[in-house]
């Protein structure tokens, strides 16, 4: 199996009041098509790790490879391009742009990437919304939707560019059990049917248990790789 993500010897120190090492020599590998959950207590560094893996946080030591290409040391603009093309994000809060319609929100990353024409992007965005059962909300402003619907639109947005890796920071943290179920089933479908890789940080034990692999963290170190 191909390796979607490989991190080697990641160290990260926060320099706030006193130096605090939040990640201690973390190494991990995620295969293409895997559904991985990262769990651990608050403050164990799991979110910090996710943001390092996401390429958004560049202030770390160690090396990171995405799809077997080393990304550590690339410029911010190159990283932005990589995120645009091959990483999709789902956050605890939906972070949709309230001034735009749901359809536009989903389209924006595709338009940014520029591989599809406007019309193609529109069709694809609609198709993604349909996949999550929110196609009838497509032309509403993002802030007019319910929380569950918003999160589904946000996931559709994360998927528009067919990223190889989808990262979630508590993607179900704000959802009721019904919506959590829907999201989980979709994630599973993505890995099984479309071969996309999913890495999520979660507090939700049920959610974690149902994923392919659980990585446990404590005090900035990986306690268990779940193999």
């Amino acid at each position: 199996m191909e390796v979607a993500l490989k991190a080697t010897g990641i160290n990260k120190v926060f320099h706030d009041a006193a130096d605090l090492q939040v990640l201690k020599n973390v190494s991990l590998e995620v295969k293409t098509g895997e559904f991985v959950s990262i769990v651990g207590k608050s403050g164990c560094g799991k979110s910090t790790l996710l943001y390092v893996l996401s390429t958004m946080d560049t202030d770390y030591e160690g090396s990171l490879e995405l799809n077997e290409v080393k990304v550590t040391g690339k410029s911010l603009n190159e990283l932005a391009r990589i995120r645009n093309e091959s990483i999709g994000f789902v956050f605890q809060f939906h972070y949709l742009l309230p001034d735009f319609t749901c359809l536009k929100n989903v389209m924006i990353p595709a338009l940014r990437l520029g591989k599809l024409s406007y019309k193609e992007a529109e069709e694809k965005a609609y198709e993604k919304l349909k996949m999550f059962g929110v196609e009838d909300q497509a032309l509403k402003k993002a802030n007019k939707l319910s929380g569950g619907q918003q999160q589904r639109v946000a996931i559709a947005r994360a998927l528009i560019n067919e990223p190889t890796i989808i990262m979630g920071d508590e993607p179900t943290g704000n959802l009721d059990s019904k919506n959590t179920g829907i999201v989980f089933d979709l994630f599973q479908k993505l890995t099984k049917e479309f071969g996309q890789t999913i890495i999520t940080v979660t507090h939700d034990e049920d959610f974690a248990k149902r994923s392919d692999r659980i990585i446990e963290m404590a005090d900035g170190e990986i306690r268990s790789h779940g193999h």
């Binding site: 979110s47 996401s54 603009n77 391009r81 995120r83 093309e85 924006i108 338009l111 940014r112 920071d169």
Partner: protein
Amino acid sequence: MKISVNTEIALTYLSARKKQTAVASLGVMFGISMFIFMQSLMKGTNDYFEKMSFNSTPHIRLYSENKVADTHMLTSYLTDPSVKILTNPKQLIQSQGLTNPYGIIKEIQRNQQIANVTPQVTADVIYTSGSVQINGNVAGVNIDQEDKMFDVQSNMLVGDLHDLNRVNNGLLIGKGVADKLSLHLGDNITVTSGTGSPTIMKVVGIFATTVKQIDDTKSYANIVQAQNLLGKDRSYVTDIKINLKDYNNAPQVAREIETLTGYKAEDWVKANEQLKAAFKIRAIILNSVIGVILLVAGFGIYNILNMTIYEKIKEIAILKAQGFSGPAVTSIFLQQAIYIGVMGGLVGITCGFGITYMVSRIYIGAGTLKYLPMSFYVPHYIEAICFGILTTIAAGFFPARKASKVDPVTIIRG
């Protein structure tokens, strides 16, 4: 037309807060329309005053000036190389006239930059009518050329200036002279110069300039009449008045003519130094007012964009997480500034034109000045648009750069 996603986001942000956008554009609009109005007013009045000064002053006046005695004569007499010292030198009286004036005129006319040349005989005189006498001066001119150069016709109240060529001993007098001596068209007036004999002349026209001093003293006569008044011959000419194709070259051409003829050539800039100073002061005042207005407009845009960025910081973070690079984010916010600038600018030049047009219809009615002199000068409008857009870019640049530097991790993690 295909618009980029950055443009689309910028436009959506602008239309999402129409009120703020309108206020920011209004600031720019106000700045630009004031810019155009003030520039038009300034150029209009400057042009007017320049034209006014050229109604009485030629671009270059060539005349003979008294000189301070120098050692020139001693040198030609004492040919030995001794040092000559002249103590207490005095002004030497030169002949008031120019030697061989028509030869000089021919010579001057060879210069490509010259548009018109005309000789003049100036005579200080006393006007007498009945028992009243007043001092004044007669300008002996070729009235056709004089009119071509100084638009005498526009100052005429009554009479025909061409009568100077037709009526023997004809005289055009200023309104002040006419009032003081209660003279009317066709009346006789006695004119006496210092050197000639008193001559009875006939009023063939009355003129009024905006300068009271001129109206109270000046009169025009045929150049031959003026020579007769002074008891001089036909080659006697006191001034040669020269107009150029471009009056801005006057100082340089004046120097050339001075070298060529050896007489004093005074250009209009020297003759009207106070006018130039007034132009400069006006320019400084108006430009600082415009500068302040544009600065305020710029701060308006800066503020609004800054506020937008604070409000949208999460959205900026999310855009960056989705792969919008720093330059893309800069482009989104800078574009907003530019659209505000372009909108304000376009409305501004329309308003500026409107204000300028309306003000140009305000009746003043002082002297020959009927309406406020406003200029409609296309480069002002181009300048205004450029200034407006430059201001908005400068005002938008810092907020946009700040937005591009938003760190998505800190914002998203809270």
